[in-house]
Amino acid sequence: MRREIVSPEGFRQDGRRPEELRRSHFRTSLFQQVDGSAYVEQGNTQCLVTVSGPREPQMRSKSLPDRAVVTVEYAVAPFSAGERKGPLRTNRAHTEVAASLQATFEAAIMTTLFPRSEIMICVQMVQLDGSALATAINAVSLAIIDAGIPVTDYVTACSAGYIGSDPVLDLNYLEESAGMPQLTLALLPRTRKIVTMAMEQKLHLDHLEPTAEMCEEGCLQMYQQMNAYIASASKLATLITPSA
């Protein structure tokens, strides 16, 4: 028996409404040894990101004379999914995700301010429960801001699927594996420019617009949450000092 993604009462299996995001949780500045780091949970999807740089490139031959090089490493922990996957091998799917993360963040980071340097982003998926790419993008965004790297805007991402005649926001693993078309959208929320758009499976063109609109709405909600977190985390403490 196939279980319904959205019940007749309008609820999903985890109790959300179709247009509802999962609960998310952020933390930054987790490590001393890197310039910036972030941990993001969206539902049960968990992602840990570290950012080093802008720094002297480790391979000098790779440096560019006019801007910084952004390199991304994407790894998925063996214990992250239901079935344990053996030791990490270079995985084509992972390389693809890394490339798309790199393109996404080169659009937001002001790389021209840092010629001949390198910004290294390491993404570690700790637990997978759907919308992995979106969670990774949100986590990288926070880690970059934590590292004090100048960006034109946040990059926030969100996924949505399309089932029956309506889109559903922020898919979890169960919904993802139901085989519905899934759209992941990354947005610069201030200008509402789309920097990344990834599509899994076929979706009728007529349905793309409502799905994309829902994604955009989700991205803007993520932005509100992330911005509120960053605003509170970047305050300096004040302490009385003796008058000189």
């Binding site: 500045s29 100048p150 960006v151 605003a231 985390a233 403490a237 009385i240």
Partner: protein, 327 residues
């Protein structure tokens, strides 16, 4: 991990009773915290500094941090941003690489800084003859891993920082502890060479590297000054005398009785732990603040200061003392 301390945050709300810690009037941070993409509430005639950018005639922040205003220049400084030098800054660095006529120095900037062989004073202060024998001996002056204090001399075209050590104040550092803190938390001071109590000295590098070591005794400093006095420093302005060492010697002249080396070592560690404690609470570091906190911490074993609760108590106590001192 940043520890949000209620002890400190409370002072943010109640501005009365607290002196403005950073001297906002003189280019210090204002209370404003901004996030990337947020419009800075300034007129368009303002100049855009670091951490800002112009879009559609509006000045926006590109980082999350504190807004600084110096006259018409607006900049935003993020806590964890890399060090972007200014000429004349005192920095502490570590040698990463020995090149043909230069050293590459890590000063936590976005590129390795460069210290040319021609920008150093060689030991004993003899003027360098530029020849190959000198270049061959470079590793005997500074080796990979050596820590040194130096000054920002200028910038290269690509933004790399050029350093120099052409003063007695600068040079190789030994027998101490280096702490790396975010450079945005080091306040610009009159002097970054700080003599603390109980035989401990500190170099607060503006790049966020802090060097803590034993204060040399008056005798040692005299001996060093004497060594250099014989060979007049070529690079110094004519008639100038090496000043830094004797001045520092006077500062510790009162403490002539030899200090217990073990006690000094423990005090060094105390200072280190106090700096880490303050940084964890995102407090701007100044010489006086570090001196005050480490003075309060004096009664405690150095190890205990790593306990966040103990550090909270120490900082709270220090704050009370400083308040009383102000009144």
């Amino acid at each position: 991990m940043a520890r949000a301390s209620h002890l400190l945050d409370s002072s943010l709300d109640s501005a009365d009773g607290f002196t403005d810690p950073h001297g906002a009037g003189a280019g210090g941070p204002s209370a404003d915290t901004v996030t990337p993409g947020q419009a800075l509430d300034v007129e368009t005639t303002y100049l855009k500094g670091h951490g800002t950018f112009l879009e559609d005639g509006q000045l926006l922040s590109s980082v999350a941090g504190t807004v600084y205003r110096v006259n018409k220049l607006v900049s935003v400084k993020a806590i964890h941003a890399r060090y972007s030098g200014e000429i004349g800054d005192v920095v502490v660095g570590r040698i990463m690489e020995v090149g043909s006529n230069r050293w590459c120095v890590d000063i936590s900037a976005r590129q390795s800084a460069i210290l040319l062989l021609s920008s150093v004073n060689l030991p004993t202060g003899i003027h360098r003859r530029s020849d190959e024998t000198d270049e061959a001996k470079m590793r005997s002056y500074f080796r990979e891993g050596d820590v040194l204090s130096c000054e920002v001399q200028g910038f290269y075209q690509d933004g790399a920082i050029a350093l120099h050590t052409r003063s007695l104040k600068y040079g190789k550092l030994a027998d101490g502890v280096m702490v790396a803190v975010p450079s945005a938390l080091v306040k610009r001071l009159k002097s970054h060479f700080v003599v603390l109590d109980h035989g401990v000295s500190m170099i607060l590098g503006l790049n966020g590297y802090v060097w803590i070591s034993r204060t040399p005794s008056a005798q040692e400093q005299k001996a060093q000054a004497h060594l250099f006095a014989g060979h007049h420093n070529f690079y110094d302005a004519p008639g100038s005398t090496p000043t830094a060492a004797p001045k520092a010697a006077e500062a510790v002249a009162g403490a002539d009785e030899p200090l217990d080396p073990h006690a000094v070592r423990e005090q060094i560690v105390r200072v280190r732990n106090c700096i880490l404690g303050l940084v964890e609470r995102k407090v701007m570091l100044t010489d006086q603040l570090i001196a005050a906190v480490s003075r309060t911490a004096r009664s405690l074993p150095a190890k205990q200061l790593l306990d966040p609760d103990v550090m909270d108590t120490v900082i709270l106590e220090t704050r009370e003392q400083l308040q009383q001192h102000d009144e």
